[in-house]
């Protein structure tokens, strides 16, 4: 309410309200709560290896038992990428001036001290990311983690040489096509049971395929967001906006 802003006591009122709510929640939680068992967890733990062929229970849960949620989580990343780009004020200028493809930042040549470790870590990070993606069902890891590691591998590349190699438009389209496959593969394999016989081998192939798809999608999404912020939103973005303004005034 606009009238409240004038009064300082509103801060204390808010504080008091939060404390009352916290006390109420804690009191009820400590005195009046019950646990009636964990049937869902027990069933998952007892059946995840036989039903899904995965040795990692978490992978079994998110790629097989509750894959319906994961489809929407993947969609969440897709729309968040759209949201980041959409809410950026640079968007209009950039799309009009077709500067979406190649960008280079004026950056002093990186110190050798910085370049040397990245020369070693970059291939290691790529390998590690791919390993986590594909081995998510045998060890802790999975598509989401592997995709994030692949992105960090790429970030290290940019710390050394800030030149935008990717065409962000094409990367967006790549992400969208991968998302279509993330919907189709579980729909066919899990919901429709298209394979007549499900053995451990077919289950594991499915897990590897889906983990890889998710990993690639996460990689694409995070790379777009990161690149957008580095190349279009940073301090250099101001220069870009000024250039675009000048072009508008000329033309």
């Amino acid at each position: 309410m606009r009238v409240f802003k004038k009064y300082k006591f509103v801060k204390y009122l808010d504080g008091a309200l939060v404390i009352i709510a916290a006390v109420a929640v804690l009191f009820l939680f400590l005195n009046h709560s019950e646990k009636q068992g964990t049937p869902l967890m027990d069933w998952f733990i007892n059946h995840f290896f036989t039903e899904t062929g995965s040795e990692n229970a978490v992978t079994a849960v998110y790629l097989n038992f509750r894959v319906f949620d994961v489809i929407f989580e993947a969609m969440m990343l897709l729309v968040c990428v759209m949201e980041v780009i959409n809410l950026s004020s640079r968007n209009k200028h950039i799309k009009e001036n077709k500067l979406h493809s190649k960008r280079e930042i004026d950056f002093p040549k990186g110190s050798k001290f910085l370049i040397m470790p990245f020369r070693w870590s970059f291939p290691a990070a790529v390998l590690l990311g791919l390993y986590f993606m594909m081995n998510g069902h045998l060890s802790p890891g999975g598509g989401f983690q592997g995709g994030a590691i692949l992105t960090t591998a790429l970030l290290s590349h940019y710390i050394v040489r800030p030149k935008l190699e990717f065409n962000l438009d094409k990367l967006e389209k790549f992400e969208q096509v991968i998302f279509m496959f993330i919907i189709i593969v579980p729909a066919l394999y899990i919901f429709m049971d298209i394979f007549p016989i499900e053995t451990i081998l077919t289950n594991r192939i499915y897990l590897v395929v889906l983990n890889t798809l998710i990993g690639l999608k996460v990689f694409a999404g995070l790379t777009i967001i990161f690149n957008w912020f580095v190349f279009y939103e940073g301090a250099d973005g101001e220069k870009l906006k000024r250039d675009a303004h000048e072009k508008e005034e000329e033309g």
Binding site: A21, E34, Q36, L40, F68, V79, Q176
Partner: protein
Amino acid sequence: MLYWLILAPILVGVGYLTFGNAETKKWVIVAQTVIVFYASYLFYQVKNTGVIIDNLGGYPYPVAITLSANNLSMVLVWVTALLFLGLFFYGYATEYFNNYTGFLYLTLEALVIALLFTDDLFNIYVLLEVSTIVITLLLTFKKDKQAVYNSMMFLFVTVVSSTFWLFGTAMIYRTFGYLDMRILSEMITQVEDPRSLILPYAFLLTAVSVKIALFPLHGWLPRAYSTPSAPPMVPAVLSGIYETAGLYLFIRLNSMFSEVIQINTFLLILGFITSILAFVKAITENDLYTLLAYSTISQIGLIVIGLAIGTEDSFWGSIYHILSHSLFKSVLFLTAGELFRQYGTRYIPKIKGVMKTMPVTGFALIFGLLGLTGAPFFNGAISKNMIGSGIDSTFLYLLLNIVTLGTVVYSIKLATMLFGENKLSSEVKEKKDVPNLQQWTMLVFGILTILTGIFGQPLMEFLYDYSYEVTLGSQIQHALTYTILLVAGFLIYKGWRKKENVIDRIVGIEMSFNAVIRSMVLFFVAVVGYMYWLV
């Protein structure tokens, strides 16, 4: 095969986003028609064989994520698909429909259908989160400052409310070990201490009440709906379709806990306050979209009243009102969009002479208003009668008629746009509008409001197997009440206009973001306190 109704729109949407252009636009409408046919086929299956249950992945019942279609949810899904088809026809020729927004609308359709089918509490959380982002994207179509502020407020309020839902789900999972709503309804009675259910119920109720904009958690809705640059399809989708999903969640939540927790009196009071406060604000409001937003809040208050009363008649009346509200509110919002496009302004006193310049839109507006106020033969009348039939006390019946009276007054305010001289600049006057696809779509919606009214009882039996007896005497009585209210409303409207500024200052409080969050915490504490005292 319920999941195909959810996955197909997403696939079509992403395909259209990646590969679509102006020529492939028509395939979206073709795909949507196929979706409507599939929904109709599923509806016939539900009607003949009963509830359809899909345990995803083939895993046993309480363990897997389950999609279930009973007659309530199936009808709402069917109506959602039909409404989206109508909206796609409406938006086909406009500039608002490119591959980006087409993707967003199709995804929103999939999310709403998923919200209506799913039985899993955590799945609902994920769906709420994704739909928040999708709607925020739709609201910031043109990035002017006010639009960004309104959509950011909507984003943050909804994200906080989704967090409440997550907390509630976590507490339920801790207590019972399951996430499936159907098995939870059975297990709820096995709790030793009923007070252990207070926290989960309060958390979940706060989340759902924000979504359906129940007083005092309604502050986000007028801002979100009246974003200056949002195309009219967006508030139409939000109020006609998204609120439907929220109301269905509200019903399911209360029925899940109904064996142990009943706070119907509390909800009844809140419903009345919501209705009355909203129509008072609507009467003083001069911006077209904001007025319709408050009208939506007022109608939702009416639906909550019907649910809280508890009798079977009023329950089905509320359900029917959800359907009629989707129809006539979509008509009104789309008409408002047309008026804004033609007149260039949303300021009601400036818009005049609609019947002369845009007769098709004018008729659609009339149908929408008659449905909203509950005129005899329109769909609003049947639902309001059914809600009213469950009330015993005369005081509450009087309050219900006051709500109808308020609705009539702001409808008259809207109706003044139809007549009078078009005093705007000559350029606007000369924009002689030829009835196009948009206007005919609106008129079809408008005609549906009268058809669902005249054939209301057979439709009710067809959809829900519920028959409601209406005698000729009660119909005449309701028609008479309506006429009296119409006359009274007209007189009040004339008298109100003189005092408008004073009343506006008293009631015209807009809630800021801090106020909405404050009211959320207050509501939560109030529900917890009330239940602790009650149970």
